[in-house]
């Protein structure tokens, strides 16, 4: 040890410290996460693995499963996109405008968080069914909402809205009016200001909100099964299919569908995360310095 040159010593020490820090920082969450999240997830894969590869492929590529997966991811994606647009608008209105009843409206945004999803599903079904308040108005126009994939999108949009609103709102509040004023003083028109100054600055949080709404939409069950009508190949979502297989005591098939959903969800969330990191590269990383100097 004594013969060791200084730099090596320092380096060894440095790495030892770093390793210790890493250990202490990651040990606790790892064990906690392992128990709560990873073990059940691994269980899904283990159970699915009791089937042979050919059987797994048969289940996954069966038309009914494929249709259900397509429906689940498709409607969740569509609903998340709708939420990204309208959630942004709602957040914008909350941050920028004062109007009577604002606080009440503000509280109501969180309702989908708190409401049992089955209640939301029943309420939406009652509204959009052919004899419901809204359904009876849409039906004559040839627009059927309840018991169609459209109904699923409606339910998922309702469930996912607060995710976008609540993630975008604080960032929008931070994006001071000064940036818009600066852009305007430099001659930018309104749309140029929105497109080139405001949107880029809230894009990371908008992506987060989108990802959350999407993830929630993929896993949503309670509200959808009421409004979807659950017609196989048309409006039967993948989570319902899992439940059906469970009720048939076909655990391996259920976990196979579940594992497939898990893989697809993970891949999509990974892509969103990469996008987020890319759009985030200027702001969050050095935010503490910026705040300090302010």
């Amino acid at each position: 040890m004594t013969s060791m040159p200084h730099s090596t010593l320092a380096r060894t020490r440095g790495t030892a410290f770093a390793a210790a820090r890493l250990r202490s920082r990651s040990a606790l969450p790892c064990s906690g996460l392992g128990l709560i999240v990873l073990i059940p997830l691994a269980g899904v894969f283990f159970k699915a693995a009791t089937l042979g590869p050919a059987e797994i492929w048969n289940i996954v590529s069966s038309e009914r499963v494929l249709a259900a997966l397509k429906l689940s991811f498709g409607t969740a994606l569509l609903a998340a996109l709708l939420n990204a647009v309208f959630g942004l608008l709602v957040a914008w209105v909350f941050v920028r405008y004062e109007f009577p009843g604002k606080r009440l409206f503000d509280a109501a945004i969180d309702l989908p968080f708190a409401l049992p999803t089955a209640v939301a599903g029943i309420a939406l079904t009652a509204l959009y069914a052919g004899n419901g308040w809204i359904g009876s108005l849409l039906e004559p126009l040839g627009l059927k909402v309840a018991y169609t994939p459209l109904g699923i999108v409606v339910a998922l949009t309702f469930i996912g809205l607060p995710f976008v609103v609540r993630t975008v709102e604080p960032v929008l509040r931070d994006a001071e009016k000064e940036f818009e004023e600066a852009a305007a003083s430099l001659g930018a028109r309104r749309w140029q200001t929105i497109w080139r100054v405001i949107l880029p600055s809230i894009l990371p949080s908008l992506l987060t909100g989108f990802a959350l709404a999407f993830a929630r939409g993929v896993g949503e069950y309670g509200s959808v099964i009421f409004i979807a009508g659950n017609i196989p190949f048309v409006s039967e979502i993948a989570p319902l299919l899992i439940v059906i297989r469970l009720e048939e005591f076909n655990y391996a098939a259920a976990t196979t569908v579940a594992a497939t959903m898990l893989v697809v969800s993970f891949a999509m969330l990974l892509v969103i995360n990469v996008l987020q990191a890319w759009s985030n590269r200027h702001s969050i990383r050095h935010a503490p310095t910026a705040i300090k100097e302010k």
Partner: protein
């Protein structure tokens, strides 16, 4: 570009932020809007810029009323207190922004915009930082980027809102010097807001001193300091001692003792306040003009010696400042009693008199005197 501000009024709810403000700014001037917080200086700047609208009154640039001209068409360069740099753009993109949002017909080609941005970065001495992002710069560098960005659109008027407020003292001094030089180079009519007297005095051709939404005085730097229009201006421009006295003809008395004699013709006699700076007081003998004081404490602060004294007549505290090598310094010993001569001062009607008067007439200077210091 000459700027004419005519009879501006602005309310925020019940609060009256600006009251009947008139101001003329000559082309090419460098003007400071100076005042304590809440005096309306930033509001006035924002109204001139078109970021805010006045309730009544007009702003015109070069004789053209700006009422119908929106912010983006006014061609003003506005520099915000916290810079408001676009975080997701590089320094060069920030500087180019103004040119890149021009309508397609007027927009220069991409390489021309880039050239122009580099030129401006050279001007603000940041030529090699064009590819950085704002968060990678220091406060002073950010401020210079903000200036370059504002200059890129070749503004007719440059407006700066507390441009150095968020910087530390040393950087602030450097940037001040640099802004002064930049103004000499570009000659753009420039208005900046500050609450720092020193900054205003050092930079500006003329100073607009604001008080509670009105303009207290508009004058050159020297005249504001030498001929303050009101007790407020005197007080705002530096530390102040107030000595109550009574005026008889041209003579000022405190407890029957002659304090000073004014040379000019002076109007109404009665209770007055003498305003004098700590550095304009010197020790004198019992038999000459002066006020009697007790020395409470003496403290050396850097190049100055600061003595806290109280008036012998009513125990009112005063501060005296002397250069530490001054021959008077040994006379200021704790507990000693001595006479102070007022070397330079202003006289205003006393605050009581002003308060009791029914009209809200502005307190006016009734006389000021300057005494040359005799060599020992």
């Amino acid at each position: 570009m000459e700027i004419l501000v005519n009879n501006i009024n602005k309310h925020f709810g019940a609060f009256s932020a600006l009251k009947n403000v008139d101001l003329t700014i000559r082309s090419g001037e460098l003007i400071a809007l100076l005042g304590p917080s809440g005096s309306g200086k930033t509001t006035l700047l924002r109204i001139i810029a078109g970021l805010d609208y006045a309730d009544t009154g007009t702003v015109s640039f070069g004789g053209v009323d700006m009422a119908g001209t929106p912010l983006r068409e006014r061609q003003i360069g506005f520099v915000f207190q916290h810079y408001a740099l676009f975080k997701h753009m590089t320094v060069r993109e920030n500087v180019s922004f103004g040119l890149s949002v021009l309508p397609r017909g007027k927009r220069p080609q991409k390489w021309l915009i880039a050239d122009r941005a580099d030129e401006l970065l050279e001007l603000v001495q940041l030529a090699d930082l064009g590819d950085r992002y704002p968060h990678q710069l220091s406060g002073g560098q950010r401020q210079r980027v903000a200036l370059a960005r504002a200059l890129a659109i070749e503004p007719k008027v440059l407006l700066l809102d507390e441009p150095f407020g968020a910087l530390d003292a040393k950087v602030r001094k450097e940037l001040r010097q640099w802004l002064r030089e930049l103004h000499l180079q570009t000659g753009v009519t420039t208005i900046f807001v500050t609450h720092d007297q020193e900054e205003a005095l050092e930079l500006a051709d003329r100073v607009v001193i604001m008080e509670k939404g009105t303009i207290a005085q508009v004058d050159t730097v020297d005249r504001v300091y030498e001929h303050p229009a009101s007790p407020f201006v005197f007080d705002f421009m530096g530390s102040t001692n107030i000595i109550p006295a009574s005026l008889h003809g041209r003579e000022l008395y405190l407890d029957g003792k002659l304090v000073a004699t004014l040379s000019g013709s002076i109007l109404p006699g009665g209770a007055v306040d003498i305003y004098v700076r700590p550095g304009d007081l010197r020790a004198t003998g019992e038999h000459s003009e002066g006020v009697e004081v007790m020395v409470k404490s003496v403290q050396r602060t850097g190049p100055l010696v600061r003595a806290s004294v109280t008036l012998a007549s009513n125990d009112q505290p005063l501060i005296v400042e002397l250069p530490h090598l001054h021959h008077d310094v040994p006379r200021f010993r704790e507990g000693s009693r001595l006479y102070l001569r007022l070397m330079q001062y202003s006289v205003f009607p006393s605050a009581d008199r002003l308060a009791s008067r029914d009209s809200v007439e502005k307190p006016t200077l009734i006389g000021r005197e300057r005494v040359r210091e005799a060599l020992p």
